[in-house]
C-alpha cells in the first residue's frame, strides 16, 4: 500500500512536472495570466508528491520491506536504524530520489519566497525547473525505479556497503545535492532571462540569493565529503584528485565565479552574458559530474553505483539541457547590451580577473579528468593523470587569485586607485613578509620549507588583507573607537559575508599548506607493549581486543596510548571490522585532534607472528581546512541574511487580470529582430555550443565502447579470448614464488594488477577476499610500484594473493592492455583471457559475473 502509493505519487509528479513545464511557459509568452499562475500551485503539488514518494521509499527501508528490490539490495534487518534511514540514498536509485526531492524543494522555495519576482520571470523559472524535474523523474521511472517489487520476498536483505555505514552518509550527500541542485536555480533564472530576452541589474539581484544558498551548500558538501574520506578511507589524506572529487570541485569553482560575476551584473549592469554563461556552465558541470561518476566512463574510489545504460540516459539529459541552453545562449546573448563601462583597475576588473582564473581552473580540472579518455581515443596510449598534474596546474592559478583577492575589495567601482589600495595594504604586506621569514627560520632552507612559507605568506596576506579592508571601512584606527563600532554596525551584511568568507579561504589555504609540508607518516609492525615515536609523540601499543561486537559486525580493536614529553595525551582505539551483511572488511581510524594537528592511527593486519601492522600519521593543520570551510559557509550565510536579498514585492495595484500581460508581452514582438542580428555578429557566442557538441559526440562514442564489454569497461579489451601475453616476473616478496605465463595454466586464475599508490585499489582490496573464498586462484601483479611501498601496503591490508609478482616498469601491464590500476583479468585453464574488469572489482561483479564464469570455465 505505502510502497505502491509512493510509486503512483512519483508517476503523478511526472505529469504534474510536464504541465508545470509547458503551461506557465506558454502563458508567459502569450500573456495569458491564468496560465502563468499555474506555476506556484504546480510547484507546491510537485514538491508534495515527490516528498510523499521519497517518504514511502524511506518507510520501506525503515520497516525492512524486502518486497522492494532496492531495500533487498541495500538493507538488512540487523542494520542500525540510522543507516536504514540514510541508506535510502546510499544506492543509485535512492540518491536520484534525493536529487529530485531537493530539486522540487527549490521549486517550492521559489513559489513561497518568489513574491518579489515579476510573474513572467517566475513562471519561466518554474517552468525550466519543472523541465529538469521531468527529465529526472522520467530517468528514475525508466532506468532506476526504486519501487521495483519482488515476490516472494527473501528472508533478509543483502546489507549496505560498510563504507557507507557511517554518519557521514547522513550529511554529505544531502548537502552536496543541495549545492549541485541549487545551481539549477541559477540555471533556470538564466534560461528564463534568455527566453525573456531581458537580463538587467534587477535580474542579477534576484538570482543572487539562490546562487548563495547553492554555493554555501556545495562548499559544505565538498568539505564534508573530503572530511568523510579523510576519516574513513584510512590513507591519511583528504583529497586525491579522484574523478568524483573533481566532479564536485568543478561546479564549485564555476559557481564561485558565478557568485562574483552576478555582483558585477547587479551593481553595474554589465558582464551579463558572462554571468548567464557561468550559470549554464555551473549546472552543466554538476550534471557532467553525475554522468561521469554514474556511467562508468571513469572509475573512482567514491562511486558506488555504476551502470553504462543509465549513462546513456544521463548523457541524453545533459545534451538536452546543456545543448539547448547553449543554443539559446548563442541566439540571445549577442543582443544583451553591456551596461556601465569600467577601467581594468577597478572592483569590476578585480572580480573579472578572479572569474577568469576560476574558470580556467575549472577548465583545467575538466581537462585533467577527461584527458586519459581523450588520449586513448586518439590512440596515443593509455595514461593516467594523477595529483602531480593537478597540483602543478592548480597552484599557479590559485596563487595570483589570492594575491588579487586581498586587493580587490579596496578598489572602488568603475575606476580604482591601485596605489591607494596598495598603500593601505602596507601593514598586511609586512605581516605576510614576517610570516614567510618566520616560516623559513623555523623550517630551515629547503624547497619544501620555501613552498610552505609562500603558502603561509599568501594565507596571511589574504587573512590580514581582509581584516585591513574591514578596519579601513569602519575607520578603526582613524576614528574614535565608539564611532568605528557605530559604523561597523551599519556595514551591510553582504560585506561582512565577503570578509568572513575570504578569511575562511585563508584558513583553508594555511591548512592545506601545513598538511602538505609537514605531514609525518610511520608504518611498522608492532607487538603489544611496543612503543614508537611519531613526530614528538610517544605511542605505546597496549593491546588488542579481538572480541568487539557491533550491531552487525565484529572487530579487533587496538589500544594505543599517545604521550608527549611523558604526559598523557590521548587513548586511541582504531578497529578492523568484519561486517556480516554483506561480508566485507572495513577499518576505522582513530584520530586525536588538538585543532592544530591530527594524530591519526590505522590498525592493520596481524603478521602471523604476534605483531600487527600499524600506520600513524601526524597531519598538521588539517583541522584548519575543515574549520576554514565552515567559516566560508558562515560568511555565505551572513551575506544571505542581508536584507537587500529580501526586497519586498512592489505594492500591488488592483487591476483587471488581463493587464498583467503587459509585463511580459514586449519580448514576443522584439525577439525576431534580435535573433537576426545575433546570428550575424554573434559567432563567438556559438563557440561554447560547438565545443559542447564535440564533447557530447565524444561521450556517445565512449559510452558505446563502455557498453560493448560485459562490464563498464573503459576500453573494450582486445585481449578477451586471446592467450595471456608471455611474461616472467620476479616475486615481490622474497619468500614467495614469482609469476610466469605457464603458472596460469591448469586452474582458473584471476590476475589482479594493483599498486600501493592507487586509491581505488584500497577500495577493491576487501573484495579480493571474496574471490579467494570462492576458490578462484588469485594472483597479483604489482604495477609500476616501489617494492617497499607495495610490501608495506600488503602488510597493512593483508595479502589475499597466492602469488605476487612485481612489474616495476609496467611492461607486462602494457602487454595485458592495462589502462590504469586496479584492473583484473580472468584467465581460464588453458591460459586464455576470458574476462576483464577495468577499475575496482565490486562484490556485485564478483558475485554475478566472476564466480559463475569461473565455475563454468572450471568444468
Amino acid at each position: 500500500m505505502v510502497v505502491e502509493t509512493g510509486l503512483f505519487a512519483l508517476i503523478l509528479a511526472l505529469f504534474i512536472a510536464a504541465i508545470q513545464a509547458v503551461v506557465p511557459l506558454i502563458g508567459a509568452s502569450r500573456g495569458e495570466a491564468s496560465w502563468m499562475n499555474v506555476d506556484r500551485p504546480a510547484a507546491a503539488v510537485l514538491f508534495a508528491l515527490v516528498t510523499l514518494s521519497f517518504g514511502a521509499l524511506m518507510w520501506a527501508h525503515v520497516t525492512s520491506d524486502f518486497s522492494v528490490l532496492n531495500v533487498i539490495q541495500n538493507s538488512h534487518t540487523d542494520k542500525p536504524l540510522l543507516y536504514k534511514i540514510t541508506g535510502v540514498w546510499g544506492s543509485h536509485e535512492g540518491s536520484m530520489m534525493l536529487w529530485t526531492f531537493i530539486l522540487t524543494l527549490y521549486g517550492m522555495a521559489v513559489a513561497v519566497f518568489g513574491s518579489n519576482l515579476p510573474p513572467g520571470l517566475r513562471a519561466r523559472v518554474l517552468s525550466v525547473q519543472a523541465m529538469i524535474a521531468f527529465g529526472f523523474i522520467l530517468f528514475i521511472l525508466l532506468t532506476s525505479n526504486p519501487f521495483t517489487r519482488v515476490y516472494p520476498p527473501p528472508l533478509n536483505g543483502e546489507g549496505l556497503n560498510p563504507l557507507l555505514q557511517d554518519p557521514g552518509l547522513a550529511f554529505h550527500p544531502p548537502f552536496l545535492y543541495l549545492g549541485y541542485v541549487g545551481f539549477s536555480m541559477a540555471f533556470s533564472f538564466a534560461i528564463a532571462a534568455l527566453i525573456d530576452g531581458r537580463v538587467d541589474a534587477a535580474w542579477a539581484r534576484w538570482v543572487r540569493p539562490w546562487t548563495l544558498v547553492a554555493w554555501c551548500a556545495l562548499t559544505l558538501g565538498v568539505a564534508m565529503g573530503s572530511w568523510w574520506s579523510y576519516y574513513t578511507l584510512g590513507w591519511g589524506g583528504y583529497w586525491a584528485w579522484d574523478p568524483v572529487e573533481n566532479a564536485s570541485l568543478m561546479p564549485w569553482l564555476a559557481g564561485t565565479a558565478l557568485l562574483h560575476s552576478a555582483i558585477v551584473a547587479e551593481k553595474r549592469d554589465t558582464l551579463k552574458a558572462w554571468t548567464i554563461f557561468l550559470a549554464i556552465i555551473t549546472f552543466s558541470l554538476s550534471l557532467l559530474g553525475t554522468f561521469l561518476v554514474r556511467s562508468g566512463v571513469l572509475t573512482s574510489v567514491h562511486s558506488f553505483a555504476v551502470d553504462p545504460q543509465r549513462g546513456v540516459f544521463i548523457l541524453l539529459l545533459l545534451t538536452l539541457f546543456t545543448g539547448a541552453s547553449l543554443f539559446l545562449f548563442a541566439l540571445r546573448a549577442p543582443a544583451l547590451k553591456a551596461g556601465g563601462l569600467f577601467a581594468p583597475i577597478s572592483r569590476e576588473g578585480g572580480l573579472l580577473f578572479n572569474n577568469v582564473l576560476l574558470s580556467i581552473a575549472a577548465a583545467t580540472i575538466l581537462l585533467g579528468t577527461l584527458y586519459p579518455l581523450f588520449v586513448d581515443a586518439l590512440g596515443l596510449g593509455k595514461i593516467s593523470v594523477g595529483p602531480p598534474y593537478f597540483n602543478t596546474v592548480f597552484v599557479p592559478l590559485m596563487a595570483p587569485m589570492i594575491l588579487i583577492m586581498a586587493i580587490g575589495p579596496f578598489l572602488s567601482w568603475r575606476r580604482g586607485d591601485l596605489e591607494g589600495a596598495l598603500a593601505r595594504l602596507k601593514l598586511t604586506f609586512g605581516v605576510a613578509v614576517v610570516t614567510i621569514t618566520v616560516t623559513v627560520l623555523i623550517a630551515g632552507i629547503s624547497s619544501r620549507a620555501l613552498w610552505a612559507s609562500l603558502g603561509f605568506g599568501l594565507a596571511a596576506w589574504l587573512f590580514f588583507g581582509s581584516l585591513a579592508e574591514w578596519s579601513g571601512r569602519v575607520g578603526l584606527f582613524r576614528r574614535s573607537f565608539g564611532d568605528a563600532m557605530h559604523r561597523a554596525r551599519h556595514v551591510p551584511r553582504s560585506v561582512y559575508g565577503m570578509t568572513i568568507a575570504h578569511m575562511g579561504l585563508a584558513i583553508v589555504l594555511a591548512g592545506i599548506t601545513g598538511s602538505l609540508a609537514w605531514k609525518t607518516e610511520k608504518l611498522q609492525v608492532m607487538r603489544p607493549g611496543d612503543s614508537i615515536m611519531v613526530a614528538g609523540y610517544q605511542i605505546e601499543f597496549t593491546g588488542v581486543d579481538n572480541d568487539v561486537k557491533g550491531p552487525n559486525y565484529t572487530a579487533s580493536r587496538a589500544t594505543f596510548i599517545a604521550r608527549k614529553d611523558g604526559r598523557f595525551v590521548a587513548k586511541m582505539q582504531p578497529e578492523r571490522r568484519v561486517y556480516t551483511n554483506p561480508p566485507q572488511d572495513k577499518s576505522t581510524v582513530a584520530i586525536h585532534t588538538n585543532f592544530i594537528d591530527d594524530l591519526y592511527a590505522v590498525f592493520g593486519e596481524p603478521d602471523g607472528k604476534g605483531g600487527f601492522v600499524t600506520h600513524f600519521f601526524l597531519n598538521p593543520l588539517v583541522p584548519w581546512i575543515f574549520f576554514g570551510a565552515v567559516v566560508m559557509v558562515f560568511g555565505g550565510m551572513v551575506s544571505l541574511s542581508d536584507r537587500r536579498h529580501r526586497i519586498g514585492a512592489p505594492i500591488k495595484k488592483t487591476r483587471i487580470a488581463s493587464s498583467v500581460a503587459a509585463a511580459t508581452a514586449p519580448t514576443a514582438g522584439a525577439a525576431p529582430s534580435i535573433e537576426k542580428k545575433a546570428l550575424l555578429r554573434g559567432w563567438i557566442y556559438l563557440l561554447p555550443l560547438l565545443a559542447f557538441i564535440v564533447l557530447a559526440g565524444f561521450f556517445i562514442h565512449r559510452l558505446q565502447l563502455a557498453s560493448e564489454g560485459d562490464t563498464p569497461n573503459l576500453i573494450p579489451s582486445v585481449m578477451i579470448n586471446k592467450p595471456a601475453p608471455a611474461f616472467n616476473l620476479p616475486p615481490l616478496l622474497a619468500d614467495r614464488p614469482g609469476l610466469k605465463t605457464a603458472d596460469l595454466k591448469g586452474k582458473v586464475t584471476l590476475v589482479d594488477f594493483f599498486a600501493s599508490w592507487c586509491v581505488p585499489c584500497r577500495a577493491e582490496h576487501p573484495v579480493l577476499r571474496l574471490v579467494a573464498q570462492a576458490g578462484i586462484r588469485l594472483v597479483g601483479i604489482n604495477y609500476k610500484d616501489k617494492p617497499t611501498d607495495a610490501k608495506a601496503w600488503l602488510a597493512e591490508l593483508g595479502d589475499p594473493y597466492q602469488a605476487v609478482a612485481s612489474d616495476m616498469h609496467g611492461q607486462t601491464g602494457i602487454n595485458f592492455g592495462v589502462y590504469g590500476v586496479p584492473e583484473s583479468y580472468l584467465v581460464d585453464k588453458n591460459g586464455v583471457i576470458r574476462f576483464k574488469q577495468t577499475g575496482p572489482l565490486t562484490p556485485e561483479v564478483v558475485r554475478d559475473k566472476l564466480i559463475p564464469l569461473a565455475e563454468k570455465l572450471e568444468r
Binding site: 502509493t5 511526472l14 508528491l49 520491506d65 515579476p118 567601482w413 512592489p650 488581463s658 509585463a663 522584439a670
Partner: protein, 293 residues
C-alpha cells in the same frame, strides 16, 4: 482501497492546478517595471546611505545615481514599446483546465498500469515475523547464531546448521556444520551432513570439498549410509556408472528392509544401469574407495 487513495491523490493534485485557471474576478497585478523599479529604488537608497557614511565620495555617488536612474528610464522605455495586446481570456483558461484534467489522470493511470504492481501489499519485516514461519525461523537462527558467537558449543552449531539447511541457506549451514566439527562433534553423521550441505550448496554437484567430508565420515564409520550414497553419486557424475551401481548395491545389501532411502536408491540403480546398458545384478557390490587422506 488502492484506487481510492490514488484517485484522491490525483483529484487533489489536479484541482490545485485548476484553481488559478478557473478562478473568477480581478486579480491583483503589477507590471514588470514595478518589480524592476523596486530593486532600483532600493539600490538608490543604498547609494544614499553609503554616501552619507562616507563609504563613497560624492562623485562616485553621483555617477552611481545617474546610472541607476538611466536603468529606470530604460525599463520604462521597454515597457512602453512593448505595451501590446493583453489577454486573460476565459476560453484559453478553460481549454487549459480541460486539457490538464484529462491528461494528468489518464497519463498517470496508464504509466502506473505499465510499471506498477497494483494490489501488491507491503511486506514490512515486523509483520512477516508474525505470519511467515520461515521468517520466524530465520530470525531465531540469527539469534541463535549471535548466542553461539558468545558461547560456542558443538550441539548449538549442529542445531543451527540444521535450521539453515531447512531454510535452504546452504552456505551458512555448511559453515555451522564445520564449526560443530571444529568444536569436537566429529561423528560420522555430522561429517556426512556437512558433505550433503556442500553438495546442495553446489547445486547437486559432489565437489571435492564434499568428497573430503564424506571420506571423513567413512573413516569414523565405514557403514555410514549417507556418505556411501554420495560416493555413488560422485562416481555417477564422473560417468563411472558401473562403479556407482556397485557402491549403491553395496549400500542396498546393508540396508534394513524398511530403510527410508531404499526406494530412491533402487530407482537410481535401475536408471544408471539402463543408461550404461548393463544388468545391475551383474555388478558386484563394492564399498567406496576412500581417497588417500
Amino acid at each position: 482501497m488502492y484506487l481510492v487513495v490514488f484517485a484522491a491523490l490525483t483529484i487533489l493534485s489536479v484541482s490545485a492546478l485548476l484553481y488559478p485557471l478557473l478562478r473568477r474576478g480581478p486579480s491583483a497585478t503589477v507590471t514588470r517595471a514595478d518589480y524592476d523599479n523596486a530593486v532600483y529604488r532600493s539600490q538608490l537608497a543604498e547609494v544614499v546611505q553609503e554616501a552619507e557614511r562616507g563609504l563613497m565620495n560624492q562623485e562616485q555617488a553621483d555617477a552611481a545615481r545617474t546610472e541607476i536612474h538611466r536603468r529606470m528610464l530604460s525599463t520604462a522605455a521597454v515597457e512602453k514599446k512593448g505595451a501590446t495586446g493583453t489577454r486573460g481570456s476565459r476560453r484559453a483558461s478553460l481549454a487549459a483546465a480541460i486539457a490538464i484534467a484529462l491528461s494528468v489522470p489518464t497519463g498517470a493511470g496508464l504509466l502506473y498500469a505499465a510499471i506498477g504492481s497494483p494490489g501488491m501489499p507491503d511486506q514490512p519485516y515486523a509483520e512477516r515475523l508474525k505470519r511467515d514461519p520461515n521468517v520466524m525461523i530465520a530470525s531465531a537462527a540469527r539469534k541463535l547464531a549471535a548466542q553461539l558467537a558468545n558461547k560456542p558449543n558443538a550441539t548449538g552449531y549442529l542445531r543451527l546448521a540444521e535450521i539453515y539447511f531447512y531454510l535452504h541457506d546452504y552456505g551458512r549451514s555448511a559453515t555451522a556444520y564445520q564449526q560443530a566439527i571444529d568444536l569436537g562433534d566429529k561423528s560420522a553423521g555430522t561429517w556426512s551432513q556437512l558433505g550433503e550441505t556442500i553438495v546442495m550448496a553446489n547445486d547437486g554437484a559432489v565437489v571435492p570439498d564434499a568428497i573430503n567430508a564424506f571420506a571423513h565420515a567413512l573413516q569414523v564409520d565405514a557403514r555410514e549410509p549417507r556418505a556411501r550414497y554420495y560416493f555413488g553419486l560422485a562416481a555417477a557424475q564422473a560417468h563411472e556408472w558401473r562403479r556407482a551401481v556397485a557402491i549403491w548395491r553395496d549400500l542396498e545389501k546393508d540396508s534394513a528392509a524398511n530403510a527410508p532411502w531404499l526406494p530412491i536408491l533402487r530407482q537410481h540403480i535401475a536408471a544408471y544401469a539402463k543408461a550404461g546398458g548393463f544388468d545391475p545384478a551383474s555388478i558386484t557390490p563394492e564399498p567406496p574407495l576412500l581417497p588417500n587422506p
